[in-house]
């Protein structure tokens, strides 16, 4: 029994909540009375049509749909043409963590704002190109923290799982008896205590 949740974005998923907090540049197409507080560069009471702001994704989802969308979302920079070219050139060399913490998960939402479907293509391309490299890393790295620096959160998760599985597999091949281990939470609790004492 572990704390891990199923991957697919579910309502309670912490990762999904954090990914939907990422911001998207938007232009307001109507006046929004009383919510001038959202705009840090003016003190007016109302938000005027034409204001350009970066809004968190969860807010954009509510405002950009419906019969009269209040905002027009744009693509965030890292999903634009320039960055897409970089990924097309060599996806493995890119520091995806710097692009966006939740590059894939945020991307799969951003995809909906892109009519030409370029974003969906680049997400798939990036993932398939990097996946081989990722599995290679997971199979051969043992506890080298530097190796995962360039991975985004989804890749880090996959790396961790694959790496643990590999280590367990190796242990089992060497000695098929599975040792009983201290429970993970008890271990954590111990470590914490040790820090407190020191």
């Amino acid at each position: 029994m572990s704390l891990q949740l199923s991957y697919s974005p579910n309502y309670f998923s912490i990762d999904d909540i954090l990914a939907t907090q990422e911001r998207i540049p938007c232009k307001f197409s109507v006046n929004v009375p009383k919510l001038g507080i959202l705009n840090p560069s003016s003190d007016e009471k109302d938000l005027k049509a034409g204001t350009e702001l970066e809004l968190p994704l969860w807010l954009v989802q509510g405002l950009s749909t419906g019969r009269q969308p209040a905002v027009v979302p744009e693509l965030p920079n890292v999903y634009k043409e320039g960055y897409r070219e970089i990924l097309k050139a060599d996806a493995c060399a890119v520091d995806l963590h710097k692009f966006n913490l939740y590059y894939y998960e945020f991307g799969s939402y951003v995809r909906n704002f892109d009519r030409k479907n370029n974003v969906a293509d680049i997400l798939l391309h990036t993932f398939t190109t990097r996946f081989r490299h990722l599995m290679d890393l997971a199979d051969n790295t043992f506890q080298d923290p530097n190796s995962i620096q360039k991975l985004d959160m989804l890749e880090r998760k996959l790396f961790k799982e694959a790496n643990e599985a590999k280590i367990k597999m190796n242990a089992w091949l060497k000695n098929s008896e599975a040792p009983i281990e201290t429970a993970a939470m008890v271990m954590n609790h111990r470590k914490r205590k040790r820090v407190n004492v020191e």
């Binding site: 009383k34 970066e54 969860w58 807010l59 509510g62 920079n77 009983i180 201290t182 429970a183 271990m187």
Partner: protein, 206 residues
């Protein structure tokens, strides 16, 4: 590249702080943040009240052709839904963690962990503990302890090393073992498993 878009101001972010707190402490449980939870509750209440008022205003304005308040209402509504989601996720993920604790620490939690739980969470823990015990008693003729033999046993006795000064320990057959730090013992697997899970023993595999 010129910065065309300025960030929107950080409003409605309190609920996210709760989620971030959980995200920072994977594998442990941070103290229950009752202050922030009630602040978020108040924020939700406040948003709902403002929306009610504006919905009424909008209804009146419609005939006179004034500016529509609808975008404002939708905006606030998204914030309400977001706050709800964060609050629910906060509590749900904490409960998952507490449930795991029942299996890893056993029926009695260490006092410093207990401190981090809210009153309601403590109640939930004891209820969960009870129903688990009740279920384990009801299976088979004499009941079955589901928290042992999590991994398939290969031998009746195993070798263990003691990691802490535990003191006297009475085994099921009545013999008393004196458990001192760094001593090795050859004991029945059944007796040791729980102590290994709780970090008193280390399983020595040659």
């Amino acid at each position: 590249m010129a910065l065309r878009y300025s960030n929107c101001r950080n409003v409605w972010r309190k609920a996210l702080e709760l989620i971030k707190e959980l995200d920072r402490c994977t594998g442990t449980l941070p103290p229950y943040n009752s202050d922030l939870v009630s602040e978020v509750n108040n924020e939700i209440k406040h948003l709902i009240e403002s929306n009610l008022e504006d919905a009424r205003l909008d209804e009146e304005n419609r005939s006179s052709g004034d500016v529509s308040l609808l975008p404002t209402i939708i905006c606030r509504h998204s914030a309400i839904a977001r706050n709800f989601r964060c609050l629910l996720a906060y509590h749900y993920n904490r409960l998952r963690c507490i449930r795991t604790m029942r299996w890893e620490f056993g029926g009695i939690l260490p006092p410093d962990i207990k401190e981090n739980l809210s009153q309601l969470e403590l109640e939930w823990f004891s209820k969960y503990s009870n129903s688990l015990a009740q279920y384990m008693r009801s299976v088979g003729e004499e009941g079955i302890n589901l928290t042992v033999n999590l991994k398939p046993p290969k031998s009746v006795h195993i070798e263990v090393r003691c990691l802490v000064d535990y003191g006297k320990y009475e085994m099921n057959n009545g013999t008393i073992v004196f458990l001192k730090k760094n001593t090795r013992h050859f004991l029945p697997r059944l007796e040791c498993e729980e102590l290994i899970r709780q970090g008193v023993f280390e399983h020595v595999v040659s």
